[in-house]
Symmetry: C2
Subunit: 310 residues, 2 copies
């Protein structure tokens, strides 16, 4: 298999933790529901490929995300894997369900903008934070790690560019609730590297430690990996990605695909940054899932490597 | 049209010149030959979209690149456009043809590796340089600007990783022949940002001024824009790109697409770097060409913007 030459660059983290979101974020918009056994196999293969954090599913109400309505069936099938398996919990009811199954890591999903908070949660930003307060508190009391997702950190389809202080305020609020880490989401993929740098600088200037920050880029305009590089250059060492670029359909009206884990691993390997991921096994996993879904992976690395001789 | 928020980053060039290669590099591998009138319209539209350098065609022998066999017909149809129109000339015969039509900018195409020099030019690296010597000398004597392309600057399909000193040597040789600028090509798309930085540093350490350097990245593994960012951070201000990502077919066995001009313009606009390009007109041009070619553009920005309301 062709691999990049390893040439480290100055000022980057020695190790990056990839937060793999394919099974949850990647599959939650699939038109045809993926069978539970296939999801479990997907999580298992991702773990075997060396990913250490695999977001497994969401304990959202099945009415809102029917694709993940099998969370109660799926989670016990993967719970014994030797990796971190965070799950999304939208509210206390979701937390109850996750805790009942022994989940050790949960995530809440906030918005930096009022428009998206309204559209996604039918609440204001502060009402949503108030809803999360007991979720985070009870999770922490149970010794459970909590991630705070923050959507629309750069641009918003209704509001346009999102002012940095607005993002900083909600980040601060999530940390004050007790979140252990944040994931800064570019939900519509409009960010560019200078914007990424500016947001991270604005957060650290307010005393947010860089090691609680993760980044979650969408490749809608092809910017995800360049934005990731900018974040790494500012010391961020947690990067969200989705195996094969699953999530949103690149051929659909609104292309909002996640950064492909394989494209990220290629860059990190070239930079000499350790991730523990076996790229060949990961590509094979994405090919297997692409065959199941009946369409090619949008990941350029998957496409390139899957056409090569081993 | 959605646009990125402009957030400049420190240490980047104030202005970037995009060297648009779509009409030449993009179309030279098309199975079905594109009619000359369509090519001329393509060049004209690219110029109207604000691109200032449009590589128009190649005066290579028609036997080797039949897709560009109409260079003599095409060039006069676009020559009056108020933009730079470099053309590829493989040898003295090609230079004669280009000069006869009044070309003011030509490019030669060298290789950093022996394997590719043999495969592409049926010569050793030094034999190829010897072939280019009179081409460059005569072009310069005629007051014509000469670009030196250098292929396989990072990896080579036969030789693997390419040592930096080997690339530096050929760059130095091309400049010594009289080339005005160089284009560092990642022909198989394997470069990563640290490798890009290391090569540029190795060249400037040998006295090569950064302003004679351009970069030419392929998006085979999704790295092109991150690599471009790394090059900009080292002061490079000439970037090759292909409208719509034309060049190589992303669905074919060997995916070797060029960096899409639109994805580049999106990033540069977000960084507040002036290019003079009207992104809407450029996307419309790539959509028009995609319709002609009968397949969607692989550019993520083209896909995203072409699905939006104006």
């Amino acid at each position: 298999m062709t691999l990049p030459m390893e040439v480290p660059a100055a000022g980057l983290p020695a190790r990056v933790r990839i937060h793999e979101v394919g099974p949850r974020d990647g599959l939650q918009n699939e038109k045809a529901t993926v069978p539970t056994a296939v999801k479990a196999e997907f999580v298992r293969r991702l773990a075997e490929a060396g990913l250490t954090t695999v977001e497994a599913t969401s304990f959202v109400h099945p009415r809102w995300v029917p694709q993940l309505a099998d969370a109660e069936e799926l989670f016990p099938q993967v719970a014994a894997l030797p990796v971190d398996l965070p799950v999304l919990v939208p509210n206390e009811r979701g937390l109850d369900r996750a805790l009942a199954l022994g989940a050790r890591r949960v995530a809440v999903f906030a918005s930096a903008t009022e428009s998206f908070a309204k559209a996604n949660l039918n609440r204001t930003v502060d009402e949503a934070l108030a809803m999360f307060a007991p979720v985070v508190a009870r999770a922490k009391a149970a010794g459970v790690h909590v991630r705070g997702y923050l959507s629309m950190c750069f641009g918003d389809p209704w509001e346009g560019a999102v002012p940095l202080p607005q993002v900083v305020r909600v980040c601060r609020a999530l940390l004050d609730l007790g979140c252990d880490e944040l994931s800064l989401g570019d939900t519509i993929g409009v960010a560019t590297p200078g914007h990424v740098t500016a947001l991270i600088d604005a957060l650290t200037a307010e005393g947010v430690p860089v090691d609680v920050l993760g980044v979650h880029f969408h490749d809608t305009y092809g910017q995800a990996l360049a934005n990731t590089l900018a974040a790494l250059q500012r010391g961020v060492s947690t990067v969200d990605a989705s195996a094969g670029g699953l999530g949103g359909c690149p051929y659909a009206k609104s292309a909002t695909g996640n950064l492909a884990t394989e494209d990220l691993v290629w860059m990190l390997r070239g930079l000499g940054i350790d991730t523990g991921v076996d790229l060949g096994r990961l590509v094979a996993t994405s090919e297997w899932m692409a065959a199941h879904l009946g369409r090619p992976s949008p990941s350029r690395t998957v496409r390139a490597l899957s056409h090569q001789e081993p």
